[in-house]
Symmetry: D2
Subunit: 326 residues, 4 copies
Amino acid sequence: MSDFDAEPGHYGYTFGGREAIGEVKPGTPITLRTLDCFGGKVRTVDDLPSRVCEFPYLNPVTGPLHVQGAQPGDTLAVHVVSLTPSAPVGISSTFPHFGALTSTGLTRTLQAPLDERVWLYDIDLDRQTVRYQARNSAYAVDLPLAPMLGTVGVAPAAGEVRQTIVPDVHGGNLDTPLLGPGATLYLGVNVPGALLALGDGHARQGDGEVCGVAVEVAMDVTIVVEVISGVPTGTPRLETDTQLVSLGAARPLEDAFRISQEDLVRHVAQLTGLDLLDAYQLVSQTTHARAGNVVDPQYVMSGAIDKRYLNGAVAYGGVHDRLRAV
Amino acid sequence: MSDFDAEPGHYGYTFGGREAIGEVKPGTPITLRTLDCFGGKVRTVDDLPSRVCEFPYLNPVTGPLHVQGAQPGDTLAVHVVSLTPSAPVGISSTFPHFGALTSTGLTRTLQAPLDERVWLYDIDLDRQTVRYQARNSAYAVDLPLAPMLGTVGVAPAAGEVRQTIVPDVHGGNLDTPLLGPGATLYLGVNVPGALLALGDGHARQGDGEVCGVAVEVAMDVTIVVEVISGVPTGTPRLETDTQLVSLGAARPLEDAFRISQEDLVRHVAQLTGLDLLDAYQLVSQTTHARAGNVVDPQYVMSGAIDKRYLNGAVAYGGVHDRLRAV
Amino acid sequence: MSDFDAEPGHYGYTFGGREAIGEVKPGTPITLRTLDCFGGKVRTVDDLPSRVCEFPYLNPVTGPLHVQGAQPGDTLAVHVVSLTPSAPVGISSTFPHFGALTSTGLTRTLQAPLDERVWLYDIDLDRQTVRYQARNSAYAVDLPLAPMLGTVGVAPAAGEVRQTIVPDVHGGNLDTPLLGPGATLYLGVNVPGALLALGDGHARQGDGEVCGVAVEVAMDVTIVVEVISGVPTGTPRLETDTQLVSLGAARPLEDAFRISQEDLVRHVAQLTGLDLLDAYQLVSQTTHARAGNVVDPQYVMSGAIDKRYLNGAVAYGGVHDRLRAV
Amino acid sequence: MSDFDAEPGHYGYTFGGREAIGEVKPGTPITLRTLDCFGGKVRTVDDLPSRVCEFPYLNPVTGPLHVQGAQPGDTLAVHVVSLTPSAPVGISSTFPHFGALTSTGLTRTLQAPLDERVWLYDIDLDRQTVRYQARNSAYAVDLPLAPMLGTVGVAPAAGEVRQTIVPDVHGGNLDTPLLGPGATLYLGVNVPGALLALGDGHARQGDGEVCGVAVEVAMDVTIVVEVISGVPTGTPRLETDTQLVSLGAARPLEDAFRISQEDLVRHVAQLTGLDLLDAYQLVSQTTHARAGNVVDPQYVMSGAIDKRYLNGAVAYGGVHDRLRAV
């Protein structure tokens, strides 16, 4: 049993615009259940998403949770303790005019959409694999289970309410494979209590979420949060045991890249005392730049630096290590 | 001594438009020397590139080499056997209106350029490191030596001549860290003999070559080439012992991403017999999407799949393994 | 006196998320007053916007107005009867990291911002001019007064709330010079009553609103609205006495262009009975493609066709001509 | 009879890489004939371009012409005296994976291409019209004849050779409807004699050349050129009797926009003595920003200012007025 099950009333389709479903305490592990991005409506290969799902009821997030003590101008650290698929089968699909290798509602053409097709992935928790099975041939192959959360965010600034599918400075549909167990996500707080919500669990995902849909699955989630008072965070950041990461959400993709790298340069400068050009140089020779998603209304790029190049400097006062120890 | 030293007459600043400096035989190792991207003119931190270098005499490539038997419609496989910096110091810099975090001649603004600054990196071949030393503080840190070639290409199609700094379907300034020792690059051949040229060695580089300049260094290069007759290659591909990679060069960056992923999907479909949508799905859940450079007249993204997911399928008739064994 | 003055409580900074300030009747002229985009806080050249204005309290819109009978799935036609500047002086400025020829929060660089500077334009209603006066020289020139509304929109779909500065399918900060007296704007209705709001009057504006700020001025506005029941509109459209126009809001700019042209092609096909390719061809040889703004979180392009090429076909059942006659 | 007929040997498919076919004298009218972009191979609606044309033999330009006295660093002014279609029928078409409303070789998707279709336009020189005739219905309408040259350029800098279909700083496939009779195009000279070539006549074209193909027609052309010594031009500019125009060629489209507007701001500043911010302001309130093409390897935007706002300042020493008078 979770602290917050994914029952009606416990999830929604926006960041902002909804009341907290509960209050949580920094430092105490929280368990919750998230629905898959289809809200559980796609169960067989014949359940075409465009038929069984109804816009805008897609990509539900569990929450929002009121975090005690979080105030505008603070940073909320969300540490992912564990992620366990709560269904035996993961689901992926194509979807008409959604994805990176099709025209879309924004990159419009006059062409016909690609066919809609559903794939089911057997999940083997013992072997820690998900099984790809082709639909039009006998081809199959096991892929490593690599659970992550596609969508984590807080209420946006300026009274905005955004669909969960949009990634932006408030978090949202970031879709980075880096956001798995052991990672800490940093989000700027815009409203009292932050109003954290999360969902869109992926059993695994390639960079860019190319076809628009990962191996989607309901998830049992354990997180622990902390509030870093008086420290703002402008664009989502992330920390693992080995890397510091900045996330940029924008279009075109080079702007997402620019945001992630500029923020990383400024973060490294602040942590190391390097001036801006010296930090620019260090980042240039060390950064990892991977696509998050290239399918949503805004794209995501991650910019990461290995912490070993920071000569011991520690981000956000060492909160990652503290939460990791919980 | 190399088969082809980087003496005047042995290098140039374009792909296409130049006569071969020699003929090379498939299957036989070739040694050559490449100049750094500044042509050796930046030697101290006071040698500002915009003063000591003269446009368009930048980014020299050694060659072109006429490859015996290469014909339009073939693919040229270029296997990198070894790369050894031939200078003890690598060089990086900012450059006015060049780089990802500045306005440029294409992304124009009315703002003043960033300061121009040069960094020198001591290269330690024994420890396999390059040493970052800040210019405005005592901060220093060793980074792993990770040699690669920034620029490898053939003569373009349709009689075009392109500056070496441009990446496109003929190769050119691809700037992917994947192109190091042990990698095989596949390029479509457009003219008899292919007219291969290469240069722009990097002691190391972060993804995206963010500030526009890697740790630049003259390089001793050993390659071995093979011609795959009658097999065209539309956009550059690359193979390592563990990955198959497609490279896309375009602007905006999402188009570079689309090209790399679309080509990877088609390649995987061809190798595995999967239909296009099944291949799209497999790639979506497994691909690695990293920035090559986000600073040149065209940007580069790489799309990679781990070969272990291909159930034994082998690209280009196994040429990578054969060249690896040379 | 207006039906709706721009008093506190009568204006806001979002589309969606606010209660109607009044109900209006289709077919009956409505008068209202709009504040300038600075909310009247910039009065002299020394009132730098970044000092006297406070984010997110920018770009106020008067409303929202509940339109009787408007239901989701309908189209709201908003006809601009007249626009009269209600202040004798229009204001423009640069603004740090905002505009097309500067790095911004999305197109980030490490460069310093441009200087912030305010310009005042004397408005002469008799001569119908606004006077450009340089700040750093005696250069001055009269420009034609060409009043328009920068921002007109309805409550977004899916429960979203957007800042007024964002243009999207619900309208918003479209910033097209085409939206002046005599024009009819068509917006899809997402909520009962549509919740129309408008503001951001410009005494004039060049295409693209290049520096990010037009000649901003409070405005006396007369509009008349009509509801076209059961006819959805996907992206904002506009009609003048001579042109049919589709507006696309997106980034990068080519996606805004694609949306505007694709919608225009489909509209022309529907009105003329041409098949899609024949309509594509007719639009290709006749369209006018102008930048709306290239400075906001999303850019706008307009795609227009002269109505005389439509052989008498009439959009939306002739509502433009009816409203024009009011 | 023309000074330069479009006979074999008189035209080619690149800028750069070809010898001059003749020498021309500044100030003396030159007549020449240009082929249509298909090289005359599409004659009926059954001549599908992808079948009858062979890449890269597309978009032929007549020339290059050696202009007496033109030296690197100069500007070449090319004044279009007259353009007369030399065939009675103009041709347009769709083309697989080419155009703005289809996926392309750069904006790649997995979708099937649009159908390829050819349209023929009867040209009536007396009535100055071209007749659109739908292929799949009886719909027809006369459009104004508005002849223009799609492609005008000189040899590129740095020894590059570019296909004629590429627009860039050397000119090339600019595709702006502004380049008709009475206009003067300004191009920077890169090689002795400039090596001017031109072609791709359009009987008319909408902004953006949306489907990728205008109303293409062979053209009788009269131009007169002048060399402005010692005055460089960085990106193509254009002048008409009423407007000064800067052209930007780049991707994404906002970069083409930025180039055109930044160059216009700098040009206005230079002509009027305004400082950069004052010129930025004046341009922002007056500029016309229209799409050139949004279909080629690089897109084009034009940025124009009405000359009447320049208080009598004259560009390039008044060469436009002098050539207009010839």
